[in-house]
């Protein structure tokens, strides 16, 4: 009876909702069941933004924001909150304001004349979607519709006394621009770049080779640390059961070590010279880094006082602000912030598991708040042979705009481990980051930013404070309705006020304009599955940490059911009764697969097999990776190498040609084949048990399959054509994600180590893996739920 009433309800939708009541629509719809999902379409650009004609005042191609900077989950905005509610689609923004600009990318245009036109009421920056009125004397803000004066310097340059063409201005032609900010935007002179290393020198750290690798890497990267104006400052603190400071400004060029063993009330042994100008103290610093490993190589100290060390590090750099890089190989066990081994296998897989994913001590959260206040960012490099409490230690980066790197079971004796860490640290040090930043997202009247996800501190209802903005970190923001929209287009503007590593105060402005629609069909047709997945991943992590992992998984599944259900009832002909197949619009067709990928991912998967460290780290990546990295992290790329076409792995018109992505199903594996699977953090080479000796010879330089060593490997560089091509493909996968992560190569042999093999197979998400469903079972389950919807 109820069902019937529901059906009747859907028949009577108002005229505004287009085709729904007729049942049939002209959305390109695909049936999901019975066919393999087209994984190639994961790389498709988001649905087109169909703005009304003449929305932008210039016809520049860059008038609207590029999806790599900012994308919306819906490229057409519902006019009313009821429509959004009815569609069940998540509404939010995925922002990567400080993405890296590699060769071939357009650099961000810079407005150098410090004329910043902003709306006097809502403080929106002038952008390509405003209107000039009254003969160009005034401009009408596109957020709040206030009239503002156009600055006279838009048309007349008083310096050269020449008229200028306002249409040439970058802020009217580009959606992504940077302004050089005048002094009104500063509370103090722009800070210099500061790197303070806090290095663990206790026995486990020396033993696993972390100290030696770190010292060498820092030494070799000194030239790469941005230092354009010679203002960059560097300091080193080492810590075991006491805290060691180094005076880097000695006359003799010999670093002077100062030991503080008072952990209750750590103090700075001297007021200056612990933090030194990189250029001035360079010889002393090199001297210290060269000797660092020898100084501690015979240490027996097993204590580590990270908490007090971080407190004094904070004290040291808080007058300037900057970055604390913390390299930690043991669980801190002395002084404030001492941690216990909390891992309890009995809790894993139960509803209590989330307690292990929450911070075990409030010390680090409190410290993070203090750091955020003083523009100090903490980055964590964690190395653990045992439990490292990633959950607690990653609190610091989470609230200070930092980043966490985790190297489980790190031993520098394995050259692959050392290489990965050295590469990532060197990349990280050479990044041109932004400092002392605040970010605000403004939207047209009626919309409100309601929840924020990512690494930052929320300072007011719409202001995020980021002591550092690392490159390529992504932030998700959920948007909600305050009022219905009566305008044809809405606009989202993100402003990131920051100090660049060149020591300039700058404002980066990203403007995204989107059309408003009244039709549910438009909404579905313009939904961006990649952005939706990114937003849902952040929300699921949030839920998993604060409540239960079960809740997080249920929320993901329910969202998928809702979307499929709404699509079925309102947008397909078979709106009533059970359907033989699930249908979804073409642009959303991979959402069920990506949902399954999230459910099966280490970050959210059920079961008692996943140590909480690994889970915490995966959760950290879920909420910070930019889309181009997160999507392969959830749905790895899978290629068959043994039978790839001739041109793959050679340099073609668009760089290195890649093989075709395959479905993540073990049906694709062949006993005699070689496959590559890549999830943006690791690269797996799967070698079948019947692989021909020639293939082993060509690729690994060994006579047969048995002699190939499984596990972490560095691919040899050989003369053979096949080896060169595979090496090129591996190299390309390492660089195409545009982040500082350096995926390691694992060779997985079909008849090799079962644990490795299982790990590899767990990435094949279309397969059944007890107790998780296969893709087809999952669709069947969704269908049952949708039919009773």
């Amino acid at each position: 009876m109820n069902q019937l009433a529901d059906k009747m309800g859907t028949m009577n939708v108002g005229p505004g909702y287009g085709y729904n009541s007729q049942g049939g629509t002209n959305i390109p719809t695909v049936a999901l069941m019975g066919v393999a999902p087209r994984v190639l379409d994961l790389d498709m650009p988001p649905p087109a933004i169909n703005l009304p004609a003449n929305s932008s005042i210039t016809d520049s191609l860059h008038a609207n924001c590029d999806p790599s900077y900012k994308r919306s989950t819906l490229n057409a905005i519902p006019a009313t909150s009821q429509l959004l509610q009815k569609s069940r689609l998540p509404f939010g923004l995925v922002i990567t304001p400080y993405r890296s600009v590699k060769e071939g990318d357009d650099p961000v245009p810079v407005v150098t004349d410090s004329i910043i036109a902003r709306c006097r009421r809502c403080r929106t920056y002038i952008n390509p979607f405003v209107r000039f009125v009254e003969g160009g004397q005034r401009w009408k803000c596109n957020m709040c519709y206030t009239l503002n004066e156009v600055p006279s310097s838009f048309d007349y340059d008083s310096l050269t006394q020449q008229p200028v063409d306002r249409w040439q201005r970058k802020e009217l032609n580009h959606a992504v621009v940077e302004y050089i900010a005048p002094t009104e935007y500063m509370v103090r002179p722009p800070q210099p770049l500061v790197h303070l290393f806090v290095i663990d020198v206790s026995y486990p750290s020396v033993q696993c080779g972390m100290l030696a690798t770190a010292a060498t890497t820092i030494l070799e990267s000194l030239d790469r640390i941005p230092d354009d104006e010679g203002r960059t400052k560097v300091g080193i603190i080492t810590v075991d059961s006491s805290i060691h400071f180094y005076n880097l400004n000695t006359r003799s060029g010999e670093p002077q070590m100062l030991v503080v063993s008072d952990l209750e009330d750590p103090f700075l042994p001297q007021p200056q010279d612990l933090l030194c100008n990189l250029k001035e103290c360079r010889p002393t610093l090199e001297n210290l880094l060269n000797r660092l490993n020898d100084m501690f190589k015979d240490t027996q100290a097993i204590g580590n006082a990270l908490g007090p060390a971080l407190q004094s590090a904070h004290k040291l750099i808080s007058p300037i602000g900057g970055k604390i890089l913390c390299l930690q190989a043991t669980l801190p066990n002395l002084g404030g912030g001492a941690l216990k081994v909390r891992e309890d296998p009995k809790l894993l897989g139960t509803s209590k598991e989330s307690t292990l994913l929450q911070a075990g001590s409030s010390f680090y959260k409190t410290l993070a708040i203090d750091c955020s206040k003083t523009q100090v960012c903490v980055d964590m490099f964690l190395f653990g042979s045992h439990y490292s409490d990633v959950a607690t230690l990653s609190c610091l980066p989470r609230y200070t705009g930092g980043n966490t790197f985790f190297y489980p079971a790190f031993t520098a004796a394995k050259s692959e481990d050392a290489l990965k860490f050295a590469h990532e640290l060197a990349e990280f040090l050479s990044q041109r980051i932004a400092l002392e930043a605040v970010m605000r997202v403004r939207a047209s009247k009626g919309l409100r930013m309601s929840a924020f996800f990512g690494n930052f501190f929320v300072r007011s209802t719409d202001l995020l404070s980021l002591p550092n903005v690392p490159r390529d970190q992504s932030y998700s923001i959920e948007v909600s309705f305050e009022d219905n929209l009566t305008i044809p287009t809405v606009c989202f503007q993100t402003a990131l006020l920051h100090t660049s590593s060149y020591g300039e105060r700058r404002i980066r402005v990203l403007t995204l304009a989107l059309p408003v629609t009244n039709s549910l069909a438009d909404l579905y047709q313009s939904a961006d599955q990649v952005a939706i997945t990114t937003l849902l991943a952040s929300k699921a992590v949030e839920r998993g940490m604060s409540a239960k992992l079960d809740d997080a998984r249920d929320a993901l599944t329910n969202k998928c059911v809702d979307i499929l259900g709404v699509y079925k009832t309102h947008l397909t002909a078979s709106s009533s009764g059970a359907t033989p197949n699930l249908q979804l619009s073409d642009n959303l067709k991979l959402l069920p697969l990506l949902t399954l990928g999230m459910l099966k991912h280490v970050a959210l998967r059920g079961g008692s097999q996943i140590p909480s460290d690994l889970r915490s780290y995966a959760m950290h990546l879920f909420s910070t990776l930019p889309s181009q990295c997160l999507i392969p992290y959830i749905h790895p790329r899978f290629y068959s190498l043994h039978n790839m076409p001739e041109n793959c792995g050679t340099i073609g018109a668009n760089g290195i040609e890649m093989p075709i992505t395959m479905n993540l199903s073990s049906e694709r594996l062949e006993r005699s084949g070689l496959f590559l699977l890549e999830d943006s953090q690791n690269i797996f080479l799967w070698l079948g048990r019947d692989a021909v000796p020639q293939l082993c010879m060509d690729l690994f330089g060994v006579p047969n399959c048995e002699s190939v060593r499984g596990g972490k490997t560095t691919l040899p560089v050989l003369e053979s054509d096949f080896n060169r091509r595979v090496n090129l493909i591996v190299g390309k996968t390492r660089e195409m994600r545009r982040t500082s992560y350096y995926p390691q190569v694992y060779v997985i042999k079909d008849d090799g180590d079962p644990a490795l093999r299982l790990w590899f197979l767990s990435h094949l998400i279309e397969d059944r893996a007890e107790p998780m469903m296969s893709y087809h079972q999952f669709l069947g389950y969704l269908k049952d739920r949708v039919n009773s919807y």
Partner: protein, 136 residues
Amino acid sequence: MSAEAMVFLFGVIVGACLLFVKVFFVILISDLEVDYINPIELCNKLNQFVLPEMCVHAFMTSIFLLGGQWIATAWNLPLVAYNANKIMNNKHMFDATEIFRTLGQHKKECFIKLGFYLLSFFYYLYRMILALVNDS
């Protein structure tokens, strides 16, 4: 003055104090919403009062219990239990990093407690006057 009147006089004074504390909470929380105060300051200010408020309330309840005022005790016990539960789960403090996510909850709780203290205040006042009238 009888013991009963004394107990309720004490209740009236404490009730008024609690009422003021809650009004202060509500004002600060609405300040946060309109961005007059930043979350770190807000939490520092509010957290000073959280434990004292709970202790004073528990102390008042125990005075009612000792004074043999069963209705007043029963009226206050649920709140004592609720507060104790919060302290045990370590959820009683305001967390600056989570404040915007939990603002709705905090606000709701503040208003409910405000109403509760207001009702209590008038009840104690009424009982105090009643006791004083009976005395004379």
